[in-house]
């Protein structure tokens, strides 16, 4: 059994139609992998484990605010093979619905009723005949040359001056190779020095200084090394990597090639979540063009599709998934820099992070650093929920919520609460609207910038309900490997549900603080460590939304 045989298991399961009876045994025979292992892998990933569900309605917080429950109910009533889904990275176009592996934006009850009982007929009326999408009143140009591009979300600012933005999602794609050529002139050390001067922080959530990882991989004695792209975007409220891939695949590939050159790798693995069928097509075409042109020499790109598991956005779970295993995070240390993909030194970056690299190489670290306000660079902020124009906005790192929402057309209603960085960042009260949205500052507040998936909630939202939705997400997406997260996510969700049902006499929230402490201390990875935050922060800032709490009686 070679490493590639094992790695092929998820794809083979997918091609066989998912984990239907007999499929695991057949795939095991073909791949030369133990059949129990194949079954264990298939049962881990939602899109493989439940092949009968053909329609999945996002039940993330933003989509629920956008009417997802009515769509889900209508789909059930229509007899569609439907189930609820964790965040589909379409929070700006709610409710997002997955039809097989294609994400449809702005799906309405009428859309569902038009489809009747045939899931294949499900369409979003928001997508016009030309493939263009009118997002909250902003016409987005159809990409007629790329008919499979069904939609892109709102992005901004659209009219930035040359060099004012690190990424410029509205900008024109560049011919591949220019920044790579410059990187070769600078040499690996020069490239890493530029990154250090830029102060680029990882934009997947942790905000870790990028140059330390690059130096780490480059200095390993093992010469077989890999570059891995984390495009498993799934943090509720986050959809920026989707836009990066849809609009600027040029920056992505250029960045990956530069990374491979700088750390001494030849193979780049791109892991896209399975629901990213449309971005997949765009990136695949860019890769085909790059390979055909030979612009990056011996550097090769390999695409890998996820199969429905938020946890695979955790870098070591992603490596496990790439190796064809259950996506359970590894113990750290050792870190991927030393022991990564197939136990070789590996550089893993988020899409946005890697897409910042070409600009830094071409314009210099000082340029990038100066783009930020409180921390270096511009940042893609995703904003959804109660704002006029949900979308992805590239602004100086450290803007406030009010500035961001102004860019997104203003608030709908009166601000009550917001999540600055997805579900994992918990909730902050409206009084913190002036806090700079950056890595360091939010961390000090017990929250985090994370993936900068900003969700805005107005005063119509009951925070107990909002917390329960986030807890359900973490319960559904816990990998189950370690007890604090496996048991704790469910325990907290059941506690809040019982509280909401009025079972307050025996104090369903009495032990929340202890359980939350345990999850934070005891969990292996960030999912379990952060999972209690939506509840603990809601209890802290919005106690009025938890009436008759037995803790205070």
């Amino acid at each position: 059994m070679s490493k590639h045989d094992a790695a092929s298991v998820p794809d083979r399961l997918r091609e066989a139609g998912g984990l239907l009876a007999g499929v695991a045994r057949q795939v095991a025979r073909e791949a030369g992998v133990p059949e129990a292992d194949v079954y264990g892998v298939g049962s881990f990933y939602h899109l493989l484990a439940r092949p009968d569900a053909k329609v999945r309605v996002c039940t993330g917080l933003s989509c629920l605010l956008g009417g997802a429950q009515a769509v889900l109910d209508a789909a059930r009533a229509a007899g569609l093979p439907v189930e609820g889904a964790s965040c589909l990275a379409g929070c700006d176009v709610p409710p997002a619905v997955l039809r097989d592996r294609r994400t449809l934006p702005l799906v309405t009850v009428e859309d569902v009723q038009r489809a009747g009982a045939d899931w294949r007929l499900l369409r979003s009326a928001a997508i016009g005949a030309s493939g263009s999408l009118d997002v909250a009143g902003v016409a987005v140009a159809a990409d007629v040359a790329q008919p499979e591009v069904e939609w892109k979300g709102a992005v901004g600012p659209a009219d930035a001056a040359d060099g004012a933005l690190a990424l410029d999602l509205c900008g024109a794609q560049q011919a591949l190779g220019a920044a790579f050529h410059r990187a070769r002139e600078l040499g690996p050390e020069g490239v890493i020095a530029a990154l250090e001067a830029a102060g680029l922080q990882g934009r997947g959530g942790a905000g870790f200084p990028a140059h330390i990882k690059w130096k780490g991989v480059r200095s390993q004695p093992v010469t077989e090394r890999y570059v891995v792209l984390n495009a498993d975007e799934g943090e509720p409220g986050t959809f920026k990597d989707r836009e990066c891939m849809l609009r600027r695949p040029d920056l992505l590939l250029e960045g990956l090639a530069i990374a491979a050159f700088a750390v001494g790798a030849q193979e780049c693995y791109l892991y896209l979540r399975g629901e990213f069928e449309v971005p997949w097509g765009i990136v695949q075409r860019a890769i085909d063009a790059a390979h055909a042109s030979g612009v990056y020499g011996d550097i090769r790109f390999h695409m890998h599709a996820g199969n429905g598991a938020y946890i695979c956005g955790e870098e070591t779970a992603l490596l496990e998934a790439l190796e064809g295993k259950r996506g359970m995070p590894r113990l750290k240390p050792p870190f991927p820099v030393e022991v990564g993909l197939w136990n070789k030194p590996t550089l893993i970056h988020n899409v946005e992070t890697i897409s910042c690299v070409p600009g830094i190489v071409q314009r210099g670290g000082a340029w990038f650093r100066a783009l930020g306000r409180t921390e270096p660079g511009t940042k893609l902020y995703c904003v959804s929920g109660h704002v006029a124009r949900p979308g992805t906005y590239e602004l100086p790192l450290g803007v406030t919520l009010d500035e961001l929402v102004a860019e997104a057309g203003g608030y709908i209603g009166t601000l009550k609460a917001f999540s600055p960085g997805g579900a994992s960042s918990g909730f902050l009260p409206a009084t913190m609207r002036d806090v700079p949205l950056d890595f360091g500052g939010l961390g000090k507040l017990g929250s985090m910038l994370g993936s900068a998936g900003v969700v805005v909630l107005n005063d119509t939202v009951d925070m107990r309900w909002a917390a329960a939705q986030q807890l359900r997400f973490f319960e559904d997406e816990s990998c189950g490997q370690c007890a604090p997260c496996r048991i704790g996510t469910r325990y907290l969700r059941e506690s809040v549900d019982r509280h909401a049902r009025g079972e307050v006499l025996d104090g369903p929230l009495t032990h929340v603080a202890d359980v939350a402490w345990q999850m934070n201390e005891g969990s292996i990875c960030g999912l379990g460590q952060a999972a209690p935050l939506p509840l603990t922060s809601a209890l802290k800032y919005f106690p009025a939304d938890f009436p008759a709490d037995a803790r205070r009686t």
């Binding site: 113990l331 007890a483 604090p484 496996r486 048991i487 345990q518 201390e521």
Partner: protein
Amino acid sequence: MIERTEPDDAPAVAAARHTLELDGRSVAFERGDTLLEVARRAGVEIPTLCHDPRLEPAGACRTCLVEVSGQRRLVPACATRAADGMKVAAGNERVERHRKTLLGLYLTDHPHDRARAERGAPNELLDMAARYDAPRDWGQMTPKREARDGDRNPYIHFDAATCIACARCTRYCDEVEGVTAITLTGRGAATTISTVDGLSLLDTTCEMCGGCVDVCPTGAMGEKMPLARAAKPERALTKVRSTCNFCGVGCQLDLNVDPDADGGRGRVVKVTSPPPGTTTNDGNLCVKGRFAYDFIHHEERIQAPMVRDASGALVETTWDHALSVAAKGLLGVAAKHGTNSLGFVSSSRCTVEENYLVQKLARAVFRSNNVHQCAAT
């Protein structure tokens, strides 16, 4: 040999060896030791559920987390290598709170009732929860783990409710036996143990070694026969160390005897493994050693030598008489038909030495080269 005049924690000795600080005292270690190994040698208790010295550390059960100075997070002692000068706290307030709350959380997803949760092997989780005074009043959730009812295999039973998904069984099956018949399946709260497509173990690669039963810390993987016979829980049985007599390897096993059974004569009601690292077989057994103990008290078991009387019926006799009858018979055949008409077949249940003696008997005494052993091909 140099006489040691200084105590273990004296600086002169410390400089000569690797040492770390464990709960305030200096402890020596070898390169490559884990914190768990160091602590256990030093007599410091660190609880574990998913650990087994035969397996790669998983760090999944989280019971062994300890505090290491300079590390923001608690670290799993089973998977953390000792390093010079490390300051480790295995029992401070933070670690104690961790153990209590973790075990309290486990109990919300596990039956508390011993009669229910300890039908076979001792339940290490309940023992540990009692030892660390874990809260029992956090309420209980209905387990979401799916059982694999109806597995028609005769030996191994799986109780999903008491499974804690520590994966000791699946890792043992994979890493030690190389069989990989069982796997972690599902995810989140539903994570449990299954086979491919949930099939009976008989329809998988399972070799019925019962290692999964042996390594399970809660008895979720249990043995069917004692359950079917309503045998006493393992705690009430007496362990008698013995040597498996199914082959010549000489695996050590523990006969679990119910001393009150059979009118006080006692009865072997199950077989368990000695702890890993203590015997040549390292606690590993095969299907015969672990499950085929029924012969011990079987009514048809021959317990004395027998010879046929004049009517052809078998009659109990002494060893001397039985051997002389056999010798006479064999010598009679040799005299009448020649030594080549004799053949000797030995058993795979004999040791190498016994097999040697059988061929010696054949060749030197009966002058025949017709000698074989049932396991030879």
